[in-house]
């Protein structure tokens, strides 16, 4: 369960890297052609300075992600978030998603594993939303590198309740139908 086979179906993001590299090369060539040599090198200099500023944070970020992965009891997570876990389960799922260090190659297989372990559509939605919006690792390493603290704080605070709300919405919209199918005759 901790290492679902689906995670190995694809190499982590070769496609992503190619896309990012292509974007950079095309934009660089366009910049050189349209804005001239001087502008190109000015931008390049700024970018390299930015890279140097970001580097220590990236190093700390990957160390933190590695440590969290090793220290978090991932096998217990599924037990805390069963189908009848109510609001507590949804909240837990959201925070579990926020704490999960790692990319889509980790989050989506884990959501499938949660589903298999008895979590419902609400819980997995809360989990994936928590991971997508509140990922601590991503916010610490990437978001704070590129945005001001005020912006990050505003966005994070506004998003705090979203995993719970989306989980509830998914439960109301989709889980009820399944529950009805399970217990026909009890009416709407």
């Amino acid at each position: 369960m901790s290492d679902p086979p689906a995670a190995k179906r694809r190499r982590p993001g070769d496609v992503g890297l190619i896309v990012v590299a292509l974007v950079a090369v095309v934009a660089g060539v366009l910049c050189y052609a349209l804005k001239g040599r001087e502008a190109f090198f000015a931008v390049l200099g700024d970018d390299l300075t930015l890279l140097l500023t970001i580097a220590p944070k990236v190093i700390a970020g990957v160390l933190l992600a590695g440590l969290l992965t090793v220290l978090l009891p991932q096998d217990k997570v599924a037990r805390w978030m069963g189908a009848r876990s109510g609001l507590r389960g949804l909240t837990l799922a959201g925070f579990a998603g926020a704490l999960l260090p790692g990319g889509p190659m980790m989050a989506f297989p884990l959501a499938v594993a949660l589903r298999g372990a008895g979590a419902d559509i609400g819980t997995t939605t809360a989990f994936l939303s928590g991971w997508a919006l509140l990922s601590l690792n991503r916010t610490l390493v990437w978001e704070m590198s590129f945005f001001s603290h005020e912006f990050v704080l505003l966005r994070y605070m506004l998003s705090l309740a979203v995993p719970l709300l989306l989980g509830l919405a998914a439960r109301l919209l989709f889980a009820r139908r399944a529950a009805l199918a399970d217990s026909r005759g009890e009416g709407e």
Partner: protein
């Protein structure tokens, strides 16, 4: 200054968790280091290209255009546009955040950029097709997308209201 405080916090957390792992004496520390190395090798080339790409894009796109499309005065239409751009932005968090940060600097509005980041986070198409659909299946993906769809515009709208109120208090 910002970046110094954030780095201190980060390395503080690394030190605390590192000590925890070290004290287990069961290879946790070594495993964490190995995982960190694997991720660093994955991340380093991408952040390199993302920063370069975002820098060139910011230099190419006229600030007036950014302000006109996703500026602070573009209202709901700007929020919708920013959400759509977030949904189609490819690459990892580095490219998305680099583009968002650059857009803020050349005239993007805070609510619009929050909508952009939220849309990218919740349902960027690249990740949806490469990871979510193959792993969780089409039905589960569609259900999650259905409830997440209005969120970026909503959060952007609330962010605008919060900023407006905060401005009134000053």
């Amino acid at each position: 200054m910002n970046i110094v405080v954030a780095s201190l916090l980060l390395y503080g957390a690394v030190a605390v968790l590192g000590r925890l792992a070290w004290r287990r004496h069961d290879g946790s520390w070594q495993r964490a280091l190995e995982l960190a190395l694997v991720q660093a090798r994955l991340v380093a080339p991408r952040i390199f290209f993302a920063v370069l790409g975002a820098g060139f894009i910011a230099a190419l796109v006229p600030p007036e255009l950014v302000a006109a499309v996703v500026g602070g005065d573009t209202g709901t239409l700007g929020l919708l546009t920013a959400s759509a751009i977030g949904a189609v932005t490819p690459g990892g968090p580095m490219l998305a955040f680099a583009v968002g940060g650059a857009a803020l600097e050349v005239g993007g509005g805070t609510p619009q950029i929050i909508a952009f980041v939220t849309a990218w986070s919740l349902y960027n198409l690249n990740r949806t097709f490469v990871w979510e659909v193959p792993i969780t299946g089409r039905a589960a993906t569609l259900r999650r997308l259905a409830v997440a769809l209005p969120l970026p515009v909503l959060l952007g709208f609330v962010a605008g209201e919060v900023a407006r109120l905060a401005g009134m208090w000053h």
